[in-house]
Amino acid sequence: MFLLAMRSLRQRPGRFAGTLLAAFLGAAITMTFNSLHDTAAAPGIDDASAETLNLSGGVVGGYGTLLVFFAIASTLTVTVRQREEEMELLRRTGATPRQLGRMVVGEAAVVALAATVLAILPAMLGGRVLLGMFHDSGQVARDVDYAFGPIALSAGFGVTLLASVGAAFLAVRRATRAGRRAPRTRLRALGGALALLGGAAGVSTTFALDATDPILMAPAAEGAILLSIGLAAFSPALLRALLACLGRPFAALAGPSGYLAVLNLRRNAARLAGILMPLVLFTGIATATLCMQAVESDAIEASGLTKSVEDKNMETLNLIVVGIIVVFACVMLINSLYAATAYRVREFGRQRLTGATPRQVIGMVGAEATLLTVTGVLLGTAAGLAGLVPFTLVRADEALPGQAPWIWLGIVAVAVAATVVTAVATARRGLRVPAVAAVAVAA
């Protein structure tokens, strides 16, 4: 089975590009930050520098691993689903589910190892850049030299391998289990409700805190993250509600492509959760954290104080955390959208045989992506504002910071570009297959 795994890797390297990218990003980020521990562990480093380095190194600890896990899991689920036919063939040839499992897990492990090796050099560069930033801001003494050592390497290989193998195990278990189960909507609804409650509690806590309290940002930011998760869980239902209101006028405006887009989204809403969730998380978390950081910086400036090392640490960490979450949300979004669109080559073929021009199919995919982005951005913005407004009210005594619209526009631009470009580019590729061949393949 391991031989088979190696062969399928060699024959179809493109198929594993998504997993490789997710694992590569995960390994690079993990090693970049863990190399700060290596740097801090060098002899003769002053306490303040060591504290900054260890604190920053620890930021991506637990939840970083979790993010890597989710990103790899989302890409692997897709690869396994694309290969259903191959799996079925192997099963009929006599492969047991255990053997299939070993094949997929073996492939994932090889991909993870390759990704980590590839990530070593970028991680060293990234670590150097981080240390340079700390040097420039005075958070770390100038004489501290960069080190890349055992902690970074073991964390990089450990986290990536663990996340890949675990994700592969789950993906193949889901795929080989007899019969498809409906998505666990009840569990998701329960989790979503809990996240919403937790988020509301976090956001309300903000009002109980003092304007200069150093932890003021924490409950608001975490509240916004939880609210984003909660709204993401309910996003399919909210998409359906939005379509019920706006579907008809949109279809009337956008012609046949819009008509098909609205019908497809309405009847597939439950399956679109995988695309909506990263969109909502991306928008919500980025909006809340970036705007809060802007408010915080302004407030410190207005009070006439210079930023302390803790303030600067806080700012750097905030931006790093947001950066990582945002990058991973983007990877997941692009990957799920790519997979969902590539999976539809057969459907596109049917539409073309029914009389749709290639332009109409592209138009339909574009219209779907636009409606999805609008839904995701609306929900994400709601979650982000719910965290941001209380924070700004307490910290700066105003409802919204002046820069908020600009930051928000930047975030929305990224969301729109990621969604629409991915969907349309993938659909365009799918249209290169002649229509008759497209309906014949079991894509």
Binding site: P256, L263, N264, L353, T354, G355, T357, P358, R359, V439
Partner: protein, 280 residues
């Protein structure tokens, strides 16, 4: 209850479909080869169609038969504007099909040509009624809902308008496909093994409906099949062997079709075709 509908944008010509010396060659890699004439010499190319010339009158029901690999699917795809022939011309209802890119072909096809495929090719997210009216919507034509309902009623799906394709049997799905092919009132309806995935009873119902499309709606139907029973529903059968026309049969019966089919190889061999190879 049924009516012949003659209100079409263009005047119906007496000839629904004409092929003149249509040729098509496939290279082993799946790409189109250059000249069909050179094809026999090289093993890497397969002549799917060799100078096929035929003419079908409006309001006829023709079955195209032949063994696997005889080129019948290629013939249908070239005639329907799904494939570009390497040589020759295809004329549908007085208009030549061969020129144009995919978008132009799609625009031509959606009003002039109806399709019924073995695998139905219905859109899974659209209801029966939505699937039926989709070609009209794509063409931005007025959707005559009462007419669509009437056609769906005629194919026996009047009580299934809001169902999704998943909720229907194979025979019912194929009847939706026939309704969809009828709703645009096309010049020619092409059916590619329309009963290939159906049980006997559903197959007979579908064939009867195709027959009705000709006799009551005045459509022209071209059906590719390798089932002599299916072919016996047609007015005439064209036989194809090794990419060439190998005879025809008017007013076919099941036995006559089966008989001709069984001896198709003999005829080709007797005629001394150079491409004939044992086992093909």
């Amino acid at each position: 209850m049924f009516r012949r509908n003659r209100e079409r944008g263009h005047g119906p010509s007496a000839e629904a479909l004409r092929l003149v010396k249509v040729g098509k060659v496939y290279r082993a890699g799946g790409q189109d080869a250059g000249k069909p004439g050179e094809a026999g010499d090289r093993e890497s190319t397969v002549t799917a169609l060799h100078d096929v010339t035929l003419s079908l009158p409006t309001g006829s029901f023709t079955a195209v038969m032949g063994p696997s690999g005889s080129g019948k699917s290629t013939l249908l795809q070239c005639a329907a504007g799904l494939e570009r022939p390497d040589s020759g011309i295809v004329v549908v209802d007085g208009e030549e099909v061969t020129a144009g890119d995919e978008a132009q072909l799609a625009v031509f096809r959606r009003l002039r040509i109806g399709f019924v495929f073995q695998q139905y090719n219905l859109l899974p997210t659209l209801t029966v009624l939505e699937n039926t009216t989709l070609p009209l919507r794509l063409a931005r034509r007025r959707v005559n809902l009462p007419r669509a309902r009437e056609i769906l009623g005629q194919v026996g799906l009047g009580d299934r308008l809001g169902h999704l394709p998943d909720q229907l049997s194979g025979g019912q799905r194929q009847r939706v496909a026939i309704a969809r092919a009828l709703v645009t009132e096309p010049s020619v309806i092409f059916a590619d093994e329309p009963t290939g995935a159906l049980d006997l009873r559903s197959a007979r119902e579908v064939l009867a409906l195709l027959r009705e499309a000709v006799s009551r709606h005045g459509r022209t139907v071209v059906m590719v099949t390798h089932d002599p029973v299916a072919a016996s529903y047609a007015d005439a059968v064209l036989f194809l062997a090794d990419g060439r026309l190998a005879g025809s049969l008017a007013a076919p019966t099941v036995d006559a079709v089966a008989e001709r089919l069984a001896h198709l190889g003999d005829e080709v061999y007797a005629a001394g075709r150079p491409e004939f190879r044992a086992g093909v």
